[in-house]
C-alpha cells in the first residue's frame, strides 16, 4: 500500500471536517500496513521540569508538540526515574480554564470570593503602595510573607527580607514541624535551629529497595508524595521481596494488596504500639549490642537524680561535643574515649565529691523504664493484639539490620506525634539499622550558592517572641509558624499584624482551624495572594496576582528539595510561555521590588537579574557548590545540567550522627534531658512530652474520652496518588478527577459494622460535624468498608470541598462535597512543637 505523508495530511484534514471533535480516528486501513511510521515522534520537543503537582520537584521531562505541552514523563537521567499520576496530569492543570487568568481585586466581603479584573500595573501598585507606607512608618515587621509554592526561588524571601520584615513564615507547622524534625534531630542529630535540633523532611530515607522487612506508620509510599525517590525505591523493594507491616487505622492499598500485613490501630495511639515494641526488643535482647557500643551513647552513665550524664567534659578534638563517663570492668569509671569496652548495661552507685550518685547506663535506664509498657498494656490502648506486636518485634529481629521503622513525613497529626517520632528514631538505632544498607540512611544533598545575600532584619520575628514567652513552643520550628502567626493576629502580640502576603500557600484549606483562620485574616489591613489557582485562602484576599505554573517558567536550580539518598540538582525550564495574563514569579517579585525598594537598593540586589535574567541566577548558583565531593562537583557544568535536566551524585551508607551533643547517636537524648529539666523549673504541665525516657502520652482526644461513642470518630486523612495538598493543581484537575471518581476519592470511609449500626448504607450522603464547632458542617458520601478501624473516619487529603463550598463555583472540576478536617477543627497546638494536631479531635456523623 502506497501511503505518502501528503496523503496522510489530506486525510486528516478531511477527517477534521467529518469527525466529531473528540473522536479518536485511526487511519490504518489493514493489518499489514506499516503506516504507523506516519506518526512522526521526532517532532516532539523535550523540556526538563521539576514537578510541582505536589511539592517534591520530581525530575520530569515534558513533551512539547505544536507549541503545546502535551505529555509528561519521568526524566530518565536519574537512578530513581519515576513520576506518579499527579505528574501525568500536569497538562490538565496547565490548561485548566479555571485558573486565575489576570490580576484580581476584591469587590465583595473577604471570604466571599468576589473579584474584579485588574491590570498588573494597578494590582502591583495597590500592594506596593501599602508596603511603602508600612516601611515609611517603621512597620515593615507588621507584614508577614508566607511562601509555599513560590515561583521565584532565590528572590522572593530575599525581597521581603530586604523590605524589612523578620516574618518570613513557613508552612511546616502544618506538616513536619516540629515533631518530625525534633523526633529525628534529638536522637540522631540535626541542625540547631534556635537551639532546637532539627533534621528536616529531606534528612533520611528508608532503604526500601534493599530492606527485607519494614514497618510503615503514618505514611504510605505509593499514595504519599515523593515518587522520586521513595515511591520508586519502594516499588523496587517490593520486587526484591521486601515484606511490610502496615500499622494504620486504614489499610492503604498503596503498601501492597497481596501480602502486606495490616494491623489496624486506634487513631493517635502509635506511640503505645512503639513502646510495646521497645519493651519486647529489650526483654528478648533484640537490640544490636555491638552497634550500640560503637555508635551510640548507650553506655553513658546517667545520674538518676538529674537525668543528666554523671560527668561530661569537652572533647579535645571537637570542642562542640562532650565526652561522658562510662563504666569499664577493668578500668572502672572512665571517659568513653578511654575504653573500647564500656558496659552497656548496669546500675551503679558512684562516689563523687563526697556524695553518692545513683546512676545507670543509658541503655539500662531505657530498658527499665520500658518495662511498664508491655504488649498487653499497649493492646488496651492501641487495639493491636499483644501477640501481633510481639510477632512484629520478632520479625524486626529476624531481618535486622535490613529493616526500617518508617519515619513518615507529614507528622503533625496528634498531640502524641512528637513521642511517636522520637520512638521511631530510637527503635531504628536500637535495631542497628540506622545508617546501614537495607535500613535507614542519611540523604545527601548538594548546596548551591544563593542568588542574593541579604541581611536579616534586626527586629525579632513573631515566633522568636512566642518561643521565648511560651514554654509550650520550646521545641517549635522558628521558621515554620503559620498557625502561630494566626494566634499572633488574634492576640495582638507581640506587635500588630497588618498585611499578609501568601505566595502559593493555602493556610485556610491546608492547616487545621481553617474556618477560624479565615476569620482571623479578616482582621488584617490587607491580604495578598499570589497563586495560579483559586483556593480557600484566595477567597480572603484583597489582591490576587496570578503567577505562571511551573510548566511556564524558568527557575533557579533546585538544590535542597529532594528526599533522596543521592544528591540531586533539579532543573525547571519553561515548556511554554505563560498562558493568559499570568507572569513568572521573578517578574512579579522584581516588579514589586522596583516599586517598593529605594532605587539604590533595587540596583544593588536586582540589577544582575535585570541584566542577565535567569542565566544570572544559574551562574551565581553554580559559582560555589557545597555538600558533595570534588569528583561529583567536577561533573556539574551549566551545559550538562541543562542538557540532562538534572544532576545526581552517589548514595552513601555509614553510621553517623549529625550534631548531637555527644557526637553519637543518642538513645538517651541529652537535648531532651536538658529540655525536660528546664521545663520542670517552669512547671510545664505536660512534662512527659519532653522526657528522654520512654513515656506514654495520649492524644488530645483520649484526654477527653477514653472510649468513643457509637457515633463518634477521629477524622484521619491520607494521601491518594491522585491528589496532593489542598491546591487546585490536583483538586480541580479533570484527568485526576475522572479516575478519582472510580475510586471514591471524594467519599469518607468508615467501618462497615459501625456504619450499619448507625443505620447507614454504602454510598449515602452524611453530614459531618465537630461537636465543639457545630456551625461548621460538611457533607460527604459515606463508604462502608472493612478496611477502616471503627474509631476512624477516613478521607483522602485535599479532595473534599469541605466547609468552604463557596469555592465550588470557581473550581468546577473539583468534588462538590467531601470532608476536609482542617476546615472544621479548633486552632489547637501540639505540645512543645507548635505543630497542628490535625486529626486529634472527635467528629460525629448523621444521615442527610
Amino acid at each position: 500500500m502506497e501511503f505518502t505523508r501528503r496523503d496522510f495530511l489530506k486525510l486528516t484534514t478531511t477527517a477534521t471536517l467529518l469527525c466529531p471533535l473528540s473522536s479518536l480516528t485511526f487511519f490504518i486501513k489493514d493489518a499489514a500496513a506499516d503506516d504507523a511510521l506516519l506518526f512522526d515522534f521526532s517532532k516532539e520537543k523535550k523540556v526538563p521540569l521539576a514537578c510541582r503537582m505536589c511539592a517534591q520537584s520530581c525530575p520530569l521531562m515534558a513533551t512539547v508538540l505544536d507549541g503545546r505541552l502535551v505529555r509528561m514523563e519521568a526524566n530518565p537521567n536519574t537512578p530513581y526515574a519515576g513520576a506518579c499520576g499527579r505528574a501525568m496530569a500536569a497538562v490538565s492543570a496547565l490548561y485548566n480554564p479555571n485558573r486565575i487568568k489576570s490580576p484580581l481585586i476584591r469587590v465583595g466581603e473577604r471570604g466571599e470570593g468576589k473579584f474584579r479584573k485588574a491590570t498588573w500595573d494597578e494590582a502591583l501598585e495597590v500592594v506596593a503602595k501599602k508596603m511603602v507606607e508600612l516601611r515609611a512608618v517603621g512597620e515593615a515587621r507588621s507584614l508577614a510573607y508566607l511562601p509555599r509554592f513560590n515561583s521565584a526561588p532565590g528572590m522572593d524571601k530575599e525581597f521581603f527580607t530586604i523590605f524589612g520584615t523578620p516574618n518570613v513564615v513557613g508552612y511546616g507547622d502544618s506538616c513536619f514541624g516540629n515533631a518530625l524534625q525534633v523526633g529525628l534531630g534529638a536522637i540522631c542529630g540535626g541542625k540547631a535551629d534556635h537551639g532546637v535540633p532539627s533534621a528536616s523532611t529531606t534528612a533520611t530515607s528508608s532503604d526500601y529497595e534493599k530492606a527485607s522487612y519494614g514497618l510503615l506508620m503514618g505514611r504510605n509510599p505509593g499514595g504519599g508524595l515523593v515518587t522520586y525517590t521513595w515511591g520508586v525505591s519502594f516499588g523496587r523493594g517490593k520486587k526484591n521481596g521486601l515484606k511490610v507491616t502496615v500499622v494504620d487505622p486504614r489499610k492503604p492499598s498503596e503498601a501492597g494488596e497481596n501480602d502486606a500485613e495490616w494491623l489496624p490501630i486506634r487513631p493517635g495511639t502509635d506511640p503505645a504500639f512503639l513502646l510495646a515494641l521497645m519493651n519486647i526488643i529489650f526483654k528478648k535482647g533484640y537490640y544490636d549490642a555491638p552497634y550500640l557500643l560503637k555508635h551510640t551513647n548507650a553506655p553513658m552513665l546517667v545520674d538518676l537524680a538529674t537525668g543528666l550524664p554523671v560527668k561530661t567534659r569537652e572533647k579535645q578534638d571537637k570542642k562542640e561535643e562532650v565526652d561522658y563517663l562510662v563504666f569499664d570492668t577493668v578500668k572502672g569509671y572512665v571517659y568513653s574515649n578511654e575504653t573500647e569496652t564500656p558496659a552497656l548495661l548496669g546500675s551503679y552507685l558512684i562516689e563523687q565529691d563526697g556524695g553518692k550518685i545513683q546512676a545507670k547506663t543509658s541503655l539500662q535506664y531505657l530498658m527499665d523504664e520500658s518495662e511498664q509498657y508491655t504488649p498487653a498494656w499497649a493492646e488496651k490502648i492501641c487495639d493491636v493484639p499483644a501477640a501481633r506486636i510481639i510477632a512484629v518485634a520478632e520479625k524486626l529481629n529476624r531481618h535486622k539490620p535490613r529493616v526500617f521503622v518508617d519515619r513518615g513525613y507529614r507528622s503533625e497529626r496528634y498531640a502524641s506525634s512528637l513521642r511517636e517520632k522520637l520512638l521511631i528514631s530510637t527503635l531504628n538505632v536500637l535495631l542497628g539499622c540506622f545508617g546501614v544498607e537495607g535500613g535507614v540512611l542519611w540523604n545527601r544533598s548538594a548546596s548551591l550558592k544563593g542568588f542574593m545575600h541579604v541581611e536579616k532584619p534586626k527586629e525579632e520575628s513573631i515566633m522568636a517572641w512566642y518561643m521565648k514567652n511560651d514554654p509550650n513552643l520550646k521545641m517549635a520550628s522558628a521558621g515554620n509558624y503559620r498557625r502561630t502567626y494566626i494566634r499572633s493576629i488574634l492576640e495582638g502580640k507581640p506587635y500588630p499584624a497588618r498585611v499578609a502576603v501568601f505566595y502559593g500557600q493555602n493556610i485556610v484549606g491546608g492547616s487545621s482551624g481553617g474556618a477560624i483562620i479565615g476569620e482571623a485574616l479578616k482582621k488584617l489591613e490587607m491580604v495578598v495572594a499570589i497563586s495560579p489557582f483559586f483556593n480557600e485562602t484566595t477567597l480572603f484576599a484583597d489582591v490576587i496576582l496570578p503567577d505562571a505554573t511551573f510548566m511556564e517558567r524558568d527557575e533557579a536550580f533546585n538544590d535542597n528539595g529532594y528526599k533522596s539518598p543521592v544528591p540531586t540538582i533539579g532543573v525547571n525550564r519553561a515548556a511554554i510561555a505563560p498562558l493568559f495574563d499570568t507572569k513568572n514569579g521573578y517578574w512579579i517579585i522584581s516588579q514589586l521590588a522596583k516599586r517598593v525598594l529605594k532605587p539604590e537598593e533595587f540596583q544593588k540586589y536586582f540589577s544582575e537579574y535585570m541584566e542577565k535574567g535567569i542565566q544570572g541566577i544559574w551562574e551565581k548558583q553554580l559559582s560555589a557548590i557545597g555538600g558533595i565531593s570534588d569528583e561529583e562537583k567536577a561533573g556539574i557544568t551549566m551545559e550538562t545540567l541543562l542538557a540532562k535536566g538534572v544532576w545526581t551524585g552517589k548514595k552513601k551508607y555509614g553510621v553517623s550522627s549529625k550534631g548531637t551533643p555527644t557526637g553519637k547517636l543518642e538513645v538517651y537524648s541529652l537535648y531532651m534531658a536538658k529540655s525536660f529539666n528546664e521545663l520542670k523549673v517552669k512547671k510545664y504541665a505536660r512534662l512527659d512530652q519532653a522526657s528522654p525516657l520512654p513515656r506514654w502520652t495520649p492524644p488530645f482526644w483520649m484526654e477527653k474520652k477514653q472510649i468513643l461513642g457509637g457515633n463518634e470518630f477521629i477524622p484521619i486523612t491520607g494521601f491518594s496518588a491522585l491528589s496532593s495538598f489542598t491546591g487546585a493543581q490536583t483538586k480541580d484537575n479533570l484527568l485526576l478527577r475522572t479516575l478519582g471518581n472510580k475510586l471514591d476519592l471524594d467519599a469518607v470511609f468508615i467501618n462497615k459494622t459501625k456504619g450499619r449500626t448507625l443505620g447507614l448504607k454504602d454510598g449515602e450522603m452524611v453530614e459531618i460535624i465537630n461537636p465543639d464547632l457545630p456551625a461548621l458542617k460538611s457533607t460527604a458520601r459515606v463508604i462502608l468498608s472493612e478496611t477502616v478501624h471503627p474509631d476512624a473516619l477516613f478521607s483522602f487529603y485535599g479532595i473534599g470541598a469541605g466547609y468552604f463550598t463557596g469555592l465550588n463555583s470557581l473550581l468546577t472540576n473539583a468534588a462538590k462535597t467531601g470532608f476536609n478536617p482542617n476546615h472544621v477543627s479548633e486552632l489547637q497546638f501540639s505540645p512543645l512543637t507548635g505543630g497542628m494536631p490535625s486529626q486529634d479531635f472527635i467528629v460525629t456523623i448523621r444521615k442527610v
Binding site: 493489518a31 496547565l94 515518587t227 516499588g235 521481596g241 498503596e254 501492597g256 501480602d259
Partner: protein, 223 residues
C-alpha cells in the same frame, strides 16, 4: 515485527495510577496529532471512553482481616481475539506485533465486540456511537517506544518487550514472589489460557487465589 507483550506485576505496583492517567493523557496527544483537537481543548473534557485502563476495586474479608484489591481493566490483546471475527464490518484488526485494534472510522457502534469479549473490555460510547478499547499504543511500539502506561510506571510494575522476553521476566518474578511470600503467584496469560483466547499480549502477575478479584478468569469464554 515479532509478537510484543506487556505485563502488569501486581506485587511491585504501588497503586499510584500513573499508568492510567498517562493513558488518558496519551490519547489526548493522539487527538492533537491527528488534528482533531489540540490538547488544551481536550484536558477540559473527561473523555471517559478514551480511558483504556481503569481500576476496579473489590473488597474482601472481614475487619481486621480485610483488604481491597485493585484490578486493572484493559484489553488483553488475545492471541485469538474473539472480537475480531465477529465484527460485522471488519473494523477490528491485529497489528503486526499482535496488538488488537478497533478502527474507529470503520466502527459502526453495533457493540458486537462489547458483547462477545470474554473479558468484558470494549466500552461503547453513546456520544460517539462507537466502541473503544486499548490499542496497546501500537503507534508508539511500532516506532520503537514503550506503551504510554509502561512509560508512565515509576516502579517497573508494568513492563513490555517481545512476547518471549516478557514471559521470561514475568515467570522469573512470579517464581520469586511465590518463594518470598509463601503465596503461589501465576503469570496469567503467559501460556495459552484456553482454546478460546490463547495466550495474551497483556499478562498479569498475581496470586492464584486472588484471580477473581484481579479479574483473571480461569476459563474465559466468549460471552
Amino acid at each position: 515485527m515479532s509478537r510484543i507483550a506487556q505485563c502488569y506485576d501486581s506485587q511491585s505496583c504501588i497503586r499510584c495510577f500513573s499508568c492510567m492517567v498517562g493513558c488518558g493523557a496519551e490519547n489526548r496527544v493522539r487527538l492533537q496529532r491527528d488534528k482533531k483537537r489540540p490538547v488544551d481543548k481536550t484536558v477540559t473534557d473527561t473523555l471517559a471512553h478514551l480511558l483504556y485502563l481503569t481500576p476496579t476495586v473489590t473488597e474482601s474479608g472481614v475487619f481486621p482481616d480485610a483488604r481491597r484489591i485493585t484490578a486493572f481493566n484493559h484489553c488483553r490483546h488475545c492471541e485469538t481475539p474473539q472480537c475480531k471475527p465477529d465484527c460485522p464490518v471488519s473494523a477490528i484488526i491485529t497489528r503486526p506485533g499482535g496488538s488488537v485494534v478497533i478502527l474507529e472510522e470503520k466502527c459502526i457502534g453495533c457493540q458486537t465486540c462489547v458483547g462477545v469479549c470474554p473479558f468484558h473490555v470494549p466500552v461503547y460510547s453513546k456520544e460517539m456511537d462507537k466502541s473503544y478499547k486499548c490499542i496497546q499504543c501500537f503507534d508508539r511500539t511500532e516506532n520503537g517506544l514503550k506503551q504510554a502506561c509502561v512509560t508512565a510506571c515509576p516502579t517497573g510494575a508494568l513492563f513490555s518487550g517481545t512476547h518471549e522476553e516478557v514471559v521470561a521476566e514475568a515467570r522469573k518474578r512470579s517464581d520469586f514472589y511465590s518463594k518470598s511470600t509463601g503465596i503461589t503467584f501465576m503469570v496469567y496469560g503467559g501460556d495459552k489460557i484456553n482454546s478460546v483466547v490463547g495466550s495474551l499480549g497483556w499478562m498479569t502477575i498475581a496470586p492464584i487465589l486472588d484471580a477473581t478479584p484481579y479479574l483473571l478468569p480461569v476459563n474465559p469464554q466468549k460471552s
